[in-house]
Amino acid sequence: MLVVDILTGGVRGGTAIMFAALGETLAERAGVVNLGTEGCMLVGALGGYAVAAETGNPWLGLLAGALAGAALGLVHAVAVVWRRADQFATGLTLMFLGLGLTSLFGAAYVGKAAPGFDPVPLPLLGDIPIAGEILFRHDPVTYLTFVVAPLLWFTLNRTKAGLLVRAAGERADVLHVHGHSADLVRTAAVTAGAALAGLGGAQLSTAYAHAWFEGMTAGRGFIAVALVIFAAWRPLWVMAGSYLFGAALAVAPALQARGHALNQFALDALPFVITLVFLAVLGRRTLRAAPEELRRVFAR
């Protein structure tokens, strides 16, 4: 069924975006924008694929992808948080760094075989009509997001660590009064967020495409940044938004496989147009949800 196929494709293709967008949510809740998410995904995609190829263990690959993303994220944090560099310029620089690094070290892994994640239908859940097909017949990394997104929500809203992150994003001065360093909290949040972006990249290479290829993230990191605003900095909305954006990308192949002609570029623009329209219509309300420290960046 067409709709089911598109939604299934949305989950399949939305997962990598979701990891990255959850990571960006974490960073932005702490008050820092990471436009370099694209670069973090790229190094994650290569790190994940390369380590999976070298060790024969895709789980180790996933870990390596997260670490690679975190490493690049740390660079962002040091430059932006500690050196007060402009976050947009630094983020874009990070994208070029990621492109260059993965091009230099990735050439050896293009076309190289590596073990990856194949779909594992969940028992019982996978047999539910429609919903089971859409949600529960994927690879294990996709199931991981079912845990990570609520976990991020819980951490942000119900734990001390989450409180610190939100404080760093809302009222850095209050954090200082209580003897905490907003800079340290932001560094941790940006780095951890970039690790999630790296995971998303690794999902792309080891679970979705089963290949490493230069520039294979193809703008998904930027989609993720847009998505965070669309979702008003809320992890569970990010989850839903990822599937929506993923579904927009899945419409073209689903229709084509049924013989329909389609100029898919109109559809490719959809996620971005939706976000823009969303911002235009709900702009002020959405931005009221923005962390206070971010509002200085986003809505002066």
Binding site: R84, A89, T93, G100, F105, F265, F298
Partner: protein, 346 residues
Amino acid sequence: MTATLASPVESAAPRRTAARTAARLLGALAGALAIFCVLLLAKGADPVTALGDMVASVFTAESLEQIVIKATPLILAAMAVVVPARAGLTNVGGEGQVVIGAVAGAGVGLAVPGPAALPLTLLAGAVGGALWAGVAAALRLVVGVNEAVTTLLLNYVALDVMLYLIYEPWKDPHGSGQPASRPLDLAARLPLLSGTAIHMGIVVALVAAVAVWLVLRGTSFGFRVSVVGGNPEAARRAGLPVARLILLAMLLGGALAGLAGAVHLAGVEFKLRPGLTTNIGYIAFLAAWLARHRPLPTVGAALLLAAVTVAGDSLQLDSGLPAATVNILMGLVLLAVLGWSRRARR
């Protein structure tokens, strides 16, 4: 979001601090170079030879021509960052404005015959870019959404608009089947400087850069815009039309980026095709930052980044490394400049 006005503060600082700042930046640049060398070593390349070949490859007549050609749209698109930055705006949308400029230029250039074709192509590019940037400006002024976010989103929409057009409605019926528009007629193309491969776009770019410099430096518009950029609240209290100035700065920026797209189209590419811009907007954004948004140094920064791109060919042909490796060098140098060219704390 802090750096735009940092330089005047610095120039007022004691000389010892300035010296320390210079030393810090030099140290960071040396560090960037060292890291790059270590990475080259890790790939089994000899960094001294590789860098030597890179530098040598730049100083040939052909390479210098290529650098000028590459730098032409970069200069214009970097000015599209400089002008809004003066008003305190972050225009990350150069890439999209360049694309729309090329699209508008092609739309007009392919339709208009005769000698009017070239000027109208360039004009259409500028108008297209301005309108595209105007969307972001309007969202900023009416709804209060930051332009950095919207311009970035609009980049992707712009690219999809172009791909949509060349995939079907504007596709060259006599073309090879890959999506591309018809080529511009000779009349709509920028002429070459006799005896070289350099097209007249460089003149357009340099004139624009000098004009931006003059306008920002010597006109009341330039002054008012920088007041808005420095302290919008004070500007408002002083009775300046803040919204109008912000809109104008953004439209002017978009027009410059759109012009970059039209110039690139009419000077080199002649057809709309996927990958037309190859990151012109993003590299230009970084060039403007490299020069701390000062118009004339930005021209130098654009030339420098163009040279880095051309030097990348040498990495591939001489050292057998992927051409994109130069992005690492570019990224490291930019990080050094962004993070270590001044004191971190205000």
